[in-house]
């Protein structure tokens, strides 16, 4: 019988997270505060995060102990299996061995609890009684709700009202886990009340929800805010994924040629890849690939530069892969992609040529996701489809090159609460799009004179 899964015993779970900042060839540049132009310091973040998490945010210690209380919770579903996708391999008919970390088997269905649990724990030991956050479809909100319940914290999730009404299942999950899930805008905050005064029937937005969550945290004693992506401590907590994978692959005497993850907000990609980036820094031959959508081509098409976060140039100059702060889609100077910064750690690694980014059309990602579901059974989250498309691409490259490859990727979440997205794909509602080169060249002229990191 062929092996399909590599498991770790509970006692084999890694006891430390890995902090890439200790091994970076050049240090990560801090974001600059919009008001002062100076690097953001711990005191700037103290109103919304406890000091123990801020210390992790700025730490350069290579290994950070995972508290026993966090390990006990991780053990509910961790270590996650390292699986071999033999059926998918057969379908691709390429000289590749495909391994994936099954992160969709967490109680919340994704990798998000890997950081939700330690964040709840560190807030608890810092004396915090209550956490606030915002959520769209609810993946992060549900993970944090579960984590807060585990550590006896109150949890208030401001869920964008249109999501609250259209995506009830994760809201129900939050309620089951004892969190207060509030449709945003709400009457609980001044930010919400202001919106409702002007637009009583507002369907809400992520921007309004984050305003409410932060106001809620800052306005209440013993309350803090929690974020599930972008920040360094979030990436740190997610390294449990790659650290487990290293142990599992060592058990079967295999080392990956390619490590891949979806690079949306950065956390699941960082989770699988950072321990391998360490290996690469120390001379190991491994290719590390982040997959992103073509509708967000920051890593693949933009240079690494200091840039403003907005057109008004009021925001900090952040070192990031950027298409320029006035980047707007053709053919006019309006709207378009404004979340043009990647998680700083991931941006930095691309700049250092330690990580490669590839972009995939939306249609290709869903096609890959459906191929996966029809061969391996599990239905991936739409975000996970991006890395599966990258795996398909890598397998085709291997076939063309006639080269055998071992691929490892992060299967970051299941799509059982996202079936409407598959329905949209299967009924032909989704259309591919790729930004023209001339449009990118035009956008980049806006940052020609800016300092280069």
């Amino acid at each position: 019988m062929k092996t399909m899964k590599v498991l770790l015993e509970d006692h084999e779970i890694p006891r430390q997270w890995y902090n890439i900042q200790a091994d970076l060839p050049t240090p990560l540049r801090p974001p600059l505060h919009p008001a002062t132009g100076k690097p953001v310091g711990p005191e700037d973040l103290a109103p919304i995060f406890p000091m123990n998490l801020i210390e992790q945010e700025v730490s350069s210690e290579r290994w950070i102990d995972i508290p026993e209380e966090v390990l006990e919770k991780y053990l509910i579903w961790r270590p996650t299996p390292l699986c071999r996708a033999r059926n998918f391999e057969k379908l691709l008919d390429a000289p590749v061995k495909i391994y994936y970390k099954m992160e969709g088997n967490s109680p919340a269905g994704s990798h998000k609890p890997n950081t939700a649990i330690p964040q709840a724990y560190y807030n608890k030991v810092a004396g915090v009684k209550h956490l606030s956050t915002e959520t769209g479809a609810g993946q992060w909100g549900s993970a944090l709700s579960m984590a807060c319940q585990m550590f006896g914290l109150g949890c208030r999730v401001f869920m964008v009202k249109v999501s609250y009404e259209q995506k009830p299942y994760r809201r129900m999950m939050m309620n089951v886990w004892g969190a207060e899930c509030i449709p945003s805008p709400s009457n609980l905050t001044e930010a919400g009340r202001n919106v409702l005064a002007e637009h009583p029937d507002s369907p809400g937005s992520l921007g309004i929800a984050i305003s409410e969550a932060i106001e809620d945290a800052v306005s209440h004693p013993n309350a803090k805010y929690s974020l599930g992506s972008v920040l360094n401590h979030v990436m740190l907590h997610q390294t449990i994924i790659g650290l487990e994978a290293q142990k599992q692959m060592e058990k079967i005497g295999v080392y990956p040629d390619v490590v891949m993850g979806c690079a949306g907000g950065g956390s699941n990609f960082a989770g699988i890849s950072l321990p391998y980036v360490r290996d690469k820094i120390h001379g190991k031959e491994v290719k590390i690939v982040g997959a992103e959508p073509t509708s967000c081509p920051t890593l693949t098409r933009g240079p690494f530069a200091y840039d403003f976060g907005d057109l008004a140039k009021m925001t900090p100059l952040l070192p990031m892969y950027t298409l320029g702060h006035d980047y707007v889609p053709a053919p006019i100077h309006a709207g378009g992609l404004r979340y043009h910064g990647m998680a700083p750690i991931v941006s930095h690694l691309v700049k250092e040529n330690l990580v490669e980014a590839r972009a995939y059309h939306q249609l290709d990602t869903f096609e890959a996701g459906v191929m996966w579901a029809r061969s391996e059974g599990f239905i991936p989250a739409p975000e996970t489809d991006h890395v599966i498309a990258a795996v398909v691409d890598e397998a085709r490259r291997a076939k063309e090159e006639g080269k055998e490859k071992v691929i490892l990727f992060n299967w970051s979440g299941h799509g059982m609460v996202d079936l409407a997205s598959y329905d949209a794909y299967l009924t032909g509602k989704l259309i591919p799009y790729e930004l023209p080169d001339e449009e990118i060249a035009r956008a980049l002229r806006a940052i020609e004179g800016f300092p280069k990191p």
Binding site: H33, P34, A35, V40, P47, I48, G136, A137, V162, S163, Q166, K167, E190, V195, H199, S202, P203, S205, G207, I210, S211, I214, E215, A217, V218, S219, S229, V230, P293, S295, G309, D310, L311, A312, M314, T315, P316, L318, V328, P329, P331, I332, H333, A334, G335, G336, R338, Y339, H340, G341, P344, Q362, E383, A420, S421, A424, K429, L430, I431, Y433
Partner: protein
């Protein structure tokens, strides 16, 4: 003359929220203004730019062209400052 609700019921997967939404939502995502991503998200489906130019008031169109959506860290810092200022105002 384009009818204002011509595309209102069309659906798309919203990359910000992670689920399907109608064009009508995108047109009011930012309060009085359309979502900053509306053209990028919809231009493959229909001529959304000319639709907006024709159906939005000139002032709304202008404000839409100038609106900004910063990255997450910037948003956090900005909102912290606003929340602190609000607390100070409440105390006085």
């Amino acid at each position: 003359m384009i009818e204002k609700n011509a595309y209102g019921s069309m659906e798309i997967r919203c990359p910000k929220l992670g689920h399907e939404l109608t064009f009508a939502y995108c047109c009011r995502e930012a309060g009085d203004l359309p979502c900053a991503r509306i053209i990028r998200c919809w231009e493959s489906f229909f001529p959304v730019e000319s639709f907006l130019r024709e159906t939005l008031d000139a002032g709304i169109w202008d404000a839409f062209c100038r609106q900004a959506t910063p990255d997450k860290m910037t948003t956090l810092l900005d909102l912290i400052e606003k929340a602190k200022a609000r607390r100070r105002a409440d105390r006085t």
